[in-house]
Symmetry: C2
């Protein structure tokens, strides 16, 4: 390796990790049934409750990446033939349709133009009595945030459907209030605003959804009935007896524990404010460079900005130059926007003024603007 | 924390990690599509081929713990109604039955007494034409190793069934020759002899099994058809185009890469020899203390030793004393042997003479022998 500095991970994730999270990752390992590890796990679940804005007893880090969190959400709650309405406004909504169908759902996708937020009225009008309504809070493929509070009100007013929400790119950086917004099932990832290496899926499910769960889901690994003993629920928070399910990824859990500790010490509101300020500064700066933002105004995510690639610019070549010359990673677009959109993330520890100045300065040089 | 030394992880796993693996875990993160990370992933898959003793192009680290490797094995190969014969001689054989049944298999368990190895003749006699025969190479619940070479010969002579093998507690420390032994599908874990923190499942599948796979398995996350693009197969080893499936757990993969590098630098045969020597020294020492080993003679795993708890000893209290006084973790037994058997692992970096002396010395003190 001849690089002088580490990569600046300004893509859609993983982001650079908080130093506290990295330090914890390399600590000597504990056994997964060690009393000290169990205390760390309990506290991690508590901290996740704060990050989710929930009191749900069943809040835990699933032992795989965010996409497995999506699978855990559907596999535990979709009974064969259930109607599942999915708000689709990007790749992760599409993925929800695929995952739900594999669980035997009758999937009703409600397509939205990419770059626009979810329209609660259209979603609710799609079916009178779905078992589940699913939506993505922060669409990583388009840089759009949807109003989950409004969606929750609409969904719960219209039927007794469960609301299932993807918060992968919002948790830890964008306001998220699972209980207040009526989220029944939620999953997220660690490698975005939480500033922790990828490998775990923060997950939460309330009693209402848990009572309707599939008794013996098709996945053993993600079976929430079995995972209860793993994190020691027993209905209450932490402290219950542990039963062996699988070997906890102890280093990853310790790292999430430390990353969450860092965030809660600073204050979740302060952390969200810093994501908001960095995103606004970046978006203002991009427009000053004469670039056009992709996500619809008013629904732009602060932590992940999408911008149109100028017509005369080779997207891949520019990204490669950013990587080779400045050690900066930004993301390509997704699907039909692969070559015409860039995705620039400022997440976790990367919300600082110098990160904003760096990406704007480098882009300015590369684009000659 | 008031401990003076780190935990000695002498249980059934996780073991303490190789220093190289720990160091890699804490390195600055790379993006999961970064050319440097792709090179690390390719090399990790190559190193896994050596550890498995296979040429299989489709050899990769699944992004979850070993138990998800089990699920990946069955979910991709069991078609509804398939007959799956499972050799059960411990907890993980039992788990295979559960996982296979959730995939729609007609499961035929072949029960063996715990503490004894799998009997190829009985397994083959269980059904004339199963789709899959499954067995555990190294039963973590009992400390027994089975002769997979003999099982492979018997299975392949009797029918065209696929042979599916759990190598969680053998890979990287006990001889394992997937291709020579006729293993069609194999999964493992990182936290045993490989000496890497838990979080990934080394996985391999040959062409014969891949061609018979389920086209659209019930798990999206573990769908090997989609995971091909993730590790860039295209039939050949590495180097192919990458398609985004899920965000790779980049730190865990880098750590596995480094742990495997450590092992291959030393030489896999040498590493196995050191596991063998440590296990033999431990087992001899336990017998000198007047303790009785649990696993059947001739089938004892070197890396995980099972020993009967003396009648006059409180198993849990003794384990707690080992932990509190010496920072030594050993494992309880499993199932009906929970209180009557201990499981003592010497894996990865813990195969040294001082580890053997430490556990024997501490046990001697605690037991007053």
């Amino acid at each position: 390796m001849t690089r002088i500095v580490d990569r600046h991970l300004f893509g859609p994730g993983p982001t650079n990790a908080y130093p506290e999270a990295t330090e914890a990752l390399a600590r000597p390992l504990l056994g997964h049934l060690d009393p000290e590890f169990i205390a760390i796990m309990d506290q991690t679940c508590d901290r996740l409750r704060t990050a989710w804005g929930t009191d749900n007893a069943r809040t835990l880090p699933i032992s795989a990446t965010g996409s497995a969190g999506m699978e855990a959400a559907f596999v535990n709650t979709v009974h064969p033939g259930d109607v599942v309405v999915v708000a689709v406004n990007g790749l992760f909504g599409q993925r929800m349709c695929d995952v739900a169908a594999r669980c035997g759902a009758e999937v009703i996708p409600v397509e939205h133009q990419w770059g626009t937020p979810v329209d609660p009225e259209r979603v609710v009008a799609a079916h009178p009595s779905p078992a589940i309504v699913a939506a993505v809070h922060a669409e990583t493929s388009t840089g759009v945030q949807s109003d989950i509070k409004a969606l929750g009100e609409a969904v719960h007013a219209a039927s007794d459907a469960l609301l299932l929400v993807d918060a992968v790119t919002s948790i830890g950086g964008v306001e998220l209030r699972a209980d207040d917004w009526g989220i029944d099932i939620g999953y997220a990832g660690t490698q975005k605003c939480l500033g922790v290496a990828p490998g775990l899926a923060p997950f939460t499910i309330n009693n209402r959804a848990f009572e309707r769960r599939v008794e013996r889901p098709q996945s053993w690994y993600l079976d929430l009935g079995l995972l209860g003993g793993y994190v020691g629920e027993a209905g209450a928070r932490g402290g219950g007896a542990r039963t062996y399910h699988h070997t906890a990824p102890v280093a990853s859990v310790a790292s999430l524990h430390a990353g969450l500790g860092r965030i809660l010490d600073e204050g979740l509101d302060n952390v969200c404010a810093r994501h908001s300020a960095a995103g606004q500064a970046l978006q203002d700066g991009l427009e000053r460079l004469g670039l056009e933002l992709f996500a619809q105004k008013g629904s732009r995510l602060p932590d992940l900005t999408t911008v149109k690639v100028p017509d005369d610019v080779d997207s891949a070549a520019a990204r490669r130059t950013l990587l080779d010359r400045y050690d900066i990673e930004i993301g390509a677009g997704v699907g039909e926007y692969a070559a015409s959109v860039w995705r620039i993330g400022l997440m976790g520890p990367n919300t600082s003024s110098d990160s904003v100045a760096l990406i704007l300065g480098a882009l300015s040089e590369v684009l000659g603007r």
